[in-house]
Assembly symmetry: C2
Homo-oligomer: 327 residues x 2
């Protein structure tokens, strides 16, 4: 099934993408791939923006690896499609005809393309695509809601682990700082913190422009402008150390600031994929900071439904997302 044997699909060089499914698997008729932003940028830069060459390389990757995983960035993306066949023992609760988005990375989803990506110009992350993908028993897929634009739903589902874990960590009465509070995962996390009963929420953003957006959205009790990579400036911007700090800033070097902004006995949740494990571990030790540091797990049961609910029910979140989609 997987090469080399013994490794899990994500670490595998190559997956078996034949269309036949096992008893606990599901086959999806693929409609569109949504390439990871870092992956698309790398490909576009490598080929100097030549869309034909980008398309050829994506086709080559999928053909040779049986999945879409950029060999340089290691990242994949998501896909949407329609459920085609469901094995009798599949635990995913899907039925043929459901229109779904996969919530596990393309890096571990067997995928075959049948149209040569003929409908894609190679110039954007959204890839119209005919072919099939296989979901395992442990995969996760969300049925796309009827009441939301599918681009909006995809953008929300892409980061839905963050609000769910934030909701789990924040206790009623807690103070919460979200670094990158005007972004996708950040705005959802602020809304989740408030819904979980946070007594004080601080949204930290890097610029006055983002501060204006976040103030307008009304998602934080306090909006502060600071460079999250500058620990002293960040701690000053947050003010009194908070019980929970949520890191949603996708730049390296925010670990020390997040630790310093957090009260003794508090928790830092790192959602940014730019987080350095060593910087977090050694930083907390070096600061003698008794904080619990969580690796932001993108999977929390019920995360998709919870994030979609926030977008439906919190106008400020929806406004920020829709503003990004029209950019």
């Amino acid at each position: 099934m997987v090469t080399p044997a013994g490794v899990l699909p994500q670490a595998a060089e190559r997956l078996d993408a034949r269309p036949e499914i096992g008893a606990d698997e599901v086959r999806i008729a693929v409609e569109r791939l949504n390439l990871d932003a870092a992956s698309f940028r790398q490909l576009a830069e490598k080929h100097g923006g030549d869309g034909d060459k980008v398309r050829a390389e994506v086709l080559e990757i999928i053909g040779s690896r049986g999945k879409m995983q950029n060999p340089v960035t290691g990242s994949g993306g998501m896909l949407i499609g329609t459920v085609d066949e469901v094995g009798p023992d599949s635990p995913l609760g899907l039925k043929p005809g459901d229109r779904v988005a996969t919530l596990v990375s393309l890096t571990l989803t067997p995928l075959a393309v049948t149209d040569g990506l003929a409908g894609w110009d190679g110039r954007g992350e959204q890839v119209p695509c005919a072919g099939h993908a296989i979901l395992f028993a442990r995969s996760v897929a969300a049925v796309l809601p009827d009441d939301l634009d599918s681009r909006l739903a995809l953008a929300v589902l892409d980061v839905c682990g963050a609000p769910a874990l934030t909701a789990r960590v924040v206790r009623p009465g807690a103070s919460v700082a979200v670094l990158g509070g005007a972004g996708k995962s950040g705005s959802l996390s602020l809304a989740a913190a408030r819904r979980s009963g946070a007594a004080r929420t601080v949204g930290v953003v890097p610029s006055e422009a983002e501060a204006a957006l976040l103030r307008d959205a009304g998602l934080a009790d306090h909006v502060a402008v600071a460079d999250a990579r500058d620990p002293v400036a960040l701690a000053a911007a947050v003010g009194e150390p908070v019980d929970v700090t949520v890191v949603c800033v996708d730049v390296p070097g925010c670990e020390h600031g997040a630790i310093l902004a957090t009260a003794a006995g508090g928790t830092v949740v790192f959602f940014s994929m730019a987080t350095s494990f060593a910087a977090a571990a050694l930083g907390a030790e070096g600061l003698a900071a008794d904080v619990t540091m969580l690796v932001g797990n993108g999977y929390v049961p019920g995360h998709a439904e919870y994030a979609l609910e926030l977008v439906r029910e919190v106008p400020g979140v929806r406004k920020l997302f829709e503003g990004r989609l029209t950019l």
Copy 2:
């Protein structure tokens, strides 16, 4: 004090190592540096084992940076010495004459050397040294116990965060797996898990030789041999998924196995500095694993005392440590 301004000492290029102390600082008369193993190895290999050149480079680093931080590995080490002067507002509870080990990395400890490292041949990690070091208010130092050999105490203090955090995470009745159970942090973590009331402990080791050592030490209910980098083999070796998995294996690629060995709702504690944040975050998401993942914080209040107590009171732990010291 620090160059560039605004960054914390660990990230700083250069620290101010003048001997004058602030009101909340402490000056230590240094007796010995204990270089980080990775740092010493890099230096020795760079200079082809020429001790004079290694000594010259360490002197140059300390002189130019005001601290011992290997520019290639980024790591430092610890030091031992005697408290020389204590500022009136120091919160560390030290008094002049105390013989102490620093528990924060040398990478953030101002240090000056006055003997040209004349007593060191450049051929080992233990560096006899005259000079001074400065502890900040947020530094951590442990008074060396009278009843333990100082080499043993240093080896224990070097990893004392692991058992303290393990003790905090393990609930009575829990099942616990420790990857690298025969190592320094691993054996202490196994002892801590049992002391916290774990109902079942599994020590995973990479070889039959280590398995024999760990069985002989009697620290785990079950000893399993497996390559922690092979998720399927590791999960099989652990057996029924455990409530808590503690990763003390200092090789990359153990994240997926640790996640797979852990039950839904359980916790993985990553102590290995070889942990990849992205592999942990994407791995859990990809496996749809509802596990809490903790960055192993080297600082937990009371960690030094707790670890020394385990070495004193658990013969199997002491035996493993003393065995390593005589190697």
